[in-house]
Subunit: 109 residues, 2 copies
C-alpha cells in the first residue's frame, strides 16, 4: 500500500494497531471492503496500512475532523465489522485518535 | 511486536510510514538500534511497528510532549540514521506528528 497523499495539516488521525488471530475467517475480504467504504465517507483524506508476518498490523486513517471520525465509527456496515473484529479477528487492538499538527517527508520517484 | 502500554491521553504520536528500498543494506540492525535508543530518551512512552512483505511499513512512536519529539529528532546518533534512511533505505516516507486525544481498545489475554 502506498503513502497517502494528504493536504497540509491540521487534520485528524485514527491509529488502529492490532494483533490478528490465526486464520483468515473472512477477515481479508472484510478489510478490503472497509477500506473501500471508508474512502467514500465524508471527511476521509487517506489511509495507510501494514501488517507483518507475525500478524501485528497498523492502519492509520486520516480525516478532516473529529465529526467525520465519529460518523465513520457509527456507520452501520462498519459496526458489523467492528463486532466481528472484537469477537473473532483481533486478539488485541488499540485505537488512538489525535490531531496531526505537522508533517514532512520524501516522495517517491 | 506487541501493543504499547500507554498512559491515558493526552500524549503525542510520531507516525512514520515508509516504503523500503530492496535489500537490507544495514537497515535491520540500525532499526533495532534506533528502537533501543529511542526507548531510553526522556519522554518516550512506547512504540509500535509493522512492515508487510511489500516493504511498506508504519512505526508509531508515542511521547509525552513535542519537546521530547524534537529532542529525539536532534539526537546525534538518530541524525546519522535519518541521513542513511533518506539516502539508502527509504524510497519514500512520511512523518506526521500529532496529539492523541482519546484512546480505547481490547487487551490480549
Amino acid at each position: 500500500m502506498p503513502l497517502a497523499q494528504l493536504p497540509a495539516p491540521p487534520y485528524y488521525v485514527v491509529t488502529f494497531a492490532s494483533q490478528r488471530t490465526a486464520g483468515d475467517d473472512g477477515y481479508g475480504a472484510m478489510a478490503d471492503a472497509m477500506v473501500a467504504l471508508a474512502a467514500g465517507q465524508p471527511g476521509f483524506l487517506g489511509v495507510e496500512s501494514a501488517r507483518g508476518a507475525d500478524g501485528f498490523g497498523i492502519t492509520n486513517s486520516f480525516w478532516t475532523d473529529e465529526a467525520a471520525i465519529r460518523a465513520w465509527k457509527a456507520n452501520v456496515d462498519h459496526l458489523v465489522a467492528q463486532r466481528r473484529g472484537r469477537a473473532d479477528w483481533y486478539q488485541a487492538y488499540a485505537v488512538r485518535v489525535g490531531r496531526i499538527e505537522r508533517a514532512y517527508g520524501k516522495t517517491g520517484d
